[in-house]
Amino acid sequence: MKKLINGIDDVVREQLQGMAAAHPELSVHIDPHYIVRGDAPVAGKVAVISGGGSGHEPMHGGFVGVGMLDGACPGEVFTSPTPDQMYECGMAANSGAGVLFLVKNYTGDVMNFEMAAEMLAAEGVPVQSILIDDDVAVKDSLYTAGRRGVGTTVIIEKIVGAAAEAGYNLDQCADLARKVNSYGRSMGMALTSCIVPAAGKPTFDLGDDEIEIGIGIHGEPGQKRMPMTSADAITEMMALEIIEDDAYTRTVREWDTENGIWVELELTDEPLAAGDSVIAFVNSMGGTPVSELYAVYRKLAAVCEDKGITIARNLIGPYITSLEMQGFSITLVKVDDEILKFWDAPVNTPGLRWGA
C-alpha cells in the first residue's frame, strides 16, 4: 500500500487539518470530527447536514458552504460517523429553523443518524431525516436493508442546499429531498479495488481482465463480476439498467417532529420514461481520470437520446469516490422546474462551485 498519509490512525484527522488550512471559510472541528460553514448558524436558515464514512471526498466535507451543506460529519474511512459527531454538528449549525439530516441508506449511517436525531429532538431541536437510496444495482426485497445511497446524494445536497439558502423551511426542504431521491437512480462499477489504509490491502481482488459491476462506494464487492469490455458496452449496460429500472417501493422510517416518534412510510419511485429531462452525473470512483469519464459520457448521451431522455444538465468528475478505486458511476436524476432552478443556483464549496 502506497498512500500519501502519515500514521494510519491519523489519516482522517490530518486530512481535516489540511482542509482547515486550505479553507478558512469553513469551521473544521477536530474532536469530535465535523465541519460547518464558518458563518454557522445562519439566522433563519434550515441547517442541511450530511455525513458518512470518510474516503468519498470531496463528499461530504467538500460540499459544505454557501448554497449546499451547512455541516458534514466525516467518520473513519468507510465507517459511519457516530451520533455525538452528528449531534454536535447539528447543535453548531442549528439557527432555530431546524436540522435536516441527509442520510445515505447504509445500516450504520441509518442507525447512527437515528440516535443523533433522537438526541437533537431531546434538546428541542426540530429535526428531519431523509434517506437516500438510489442504487439500482441492489436487488431489493421488502425484507432487506434496501438500496444503498450513492450518486444521487451529491445532487440532493446541491439542490436542497440551494433551497434552504433560498428560505425553504424544514418541511419544505425534507419534501424536496424526498422528491429528488425518488427521481434519482444510480449504478457503479470498478476496474480496481481500493485499499482501506487500516486494512493495508485491497478489499477485493480483481483479475487483469475482470471488472466488478454494481459496486457501492465502500470499496465493497458488487453485484457481479464479468470480463473487461469496452467503455461503450459497459456504459450501455449500466445506463439501460438505470433507465429500465422498474418502480421501486420500500418502507422508510422518518422522524415525526410533532410527536417525537419514528414513523414508517411506504414510498414508491416511478421509473424514468421517454420525454423526461434529467441531470446526468458521470462520477469517477477516485482513480479514474476525467478523460475516461468523457468517453463514458459520449455513450451515455447516445443511449439517453435513443431512449427519448433529454439531458438538461450534466456533472462529470470525481465527486463521490472510493479512495483511489478506478471505476465510475452513472446517476440520472429526473428534473422539473423547481429542481433545475436550485441546481443552477450559486454554490460555493471546495468541491462544487459556480455562480459565486
Binding site: 464514512g53 473513519e76 459511519s80 457516530t82 442507525m111 444495482a137 436493508a145 486494512a199 477485493f204 453485484q223
Partner: protein, 220 residues
C-alpha cells in the same frame, strides 16, 4: 472462582471485578483479532469490522478508570456510550445499544445473580434487535446472540452452574457464528451481495462469539 458472597448457585455469581475483567478481556480479544475480523468483513462487507471494534474497545479502556468505583450498571452504560461515540458503522450503535440496555437491569448492583446475568444479556440482545431490526437468519450478529442466550437459559433451567452455563452459551455463540456461513444476508452491508454473500461467515456474529468467550474467561 468462588465469591465470598456465594450462598446458592443462583445468587451473586458474577462480581464487579469479573465484569471489569470481561471488558478488559474483550478489548484484548478485539485488538488481537482486528485483522481476522477485518478479513471476514472484506468479501461481504467493507473491510473495517475489526478496525471498528478495536478502536471502540480502546476508547472503552480509556474510560474504564473513571467508572472503576461505580456499580456494574454504570460500568456497562459507560462501555456502551464509549462504543457509540467511537465505533461508528453498524456495529457501533448495535454493540453500544447492547451495553446501554444490558446496564438497565443491573443498575446499582455490585454483584450479579444468574438471573441478573441472563436478564442483562437478554436486555442487551433486545436492544440489538430493536435498533437493527434484523430477524434470525438474516446473517447478522443476532444469529450469534440468539442461540447463545437460548443455550444459557436452557443450561440454567437444567441446573447448570454459572461457569457450565456460560460454556454452553459460548458453544451456542460459536455454533450460531458458524451457521451464518451458508446464510444469504438480508441485513447490513452483506445484503447488497445477494447470492454472493453465501459461503462467508458473518463478522458481527464472530465478534459476538469473542465477546461472550471473554465473559466466560472473566468468570472462570
Amino acid at each position: 472462582m468462588l465469591s465470598v458472597l456465594t450462598l446458592s448457585q443462583n445468587l451473586m455469581t458474577v462480581t464487579k471485578a469479573e465484569i471489569l475483567k470481561w471488558i478488559t478481556l474483550s478489548a484484548d480479544v478485539m485488538q488481537e483479532n482486528k485483522q481476522y475480523l477485518t478479513d471476514l468483513d472484506s468479501p461481504i462487507g467493507d473491510a473495517d469490522h475489526g478496525i471498528n471494534m478495536a478502536r471502540g474497545f480502546k476508547k472503552v479502556l480509556e474510560r474504564l478508570p473513571t467508572v472503576q468505583d461505580k456499580d456494574i450498571g454504570n460500568i456497562l452504560k459507560t462501555t456502551g456510550m464509549a462504543l457509540i461515540s467511537s465505533v461508528g458503522g453498524a456495529s457501533g450503535p448495535l454493540y453500544g445499544t447492547f451495553f446501554m440496555r444490558a446496564a438497565a437491569p443491573v443498575m446499582s448492583k455490585e454483584v450479579l445473580t444468574d438471573d441478573d446475568l441472563v436478564a442483562m444479556l437478554d436486555m442487551g440482545l433486545e436492544g440489538v434487535i430493536s435498533r437493527g431490526r434484523a430477524n434470525l437468519g438474516d446473517k447478522t450478529m443476532v444469529d450469534g446472540w440468539t442461540p447463545a442466550l437460548e443455550a444459557l437459559r436452557t443450561a440454567f433451567a437444567n441446573g447448570a452452574d454459572t461457569k457450565t452455563a456460560m460454556q454452553a452459551c459460548v458453544a451456542g455463540a460459536e455454533q450460531g457464528m458458524q451457521d451464518t456461513i451458508p446464510m444469504l444476508a438480508k441485513k447490513g452491508r452483506a445484503s447488497y451481495l445477494g447470492e454472493r454473500s453465501v459461503g462467508h461467515q458473518d463478522p458481527g456474529a464472530t465478534s459476538t462469539y469473542f465477546l461472550l468467550n471473554a465473559l466466560l474467561e472473566a468468570i472462570s
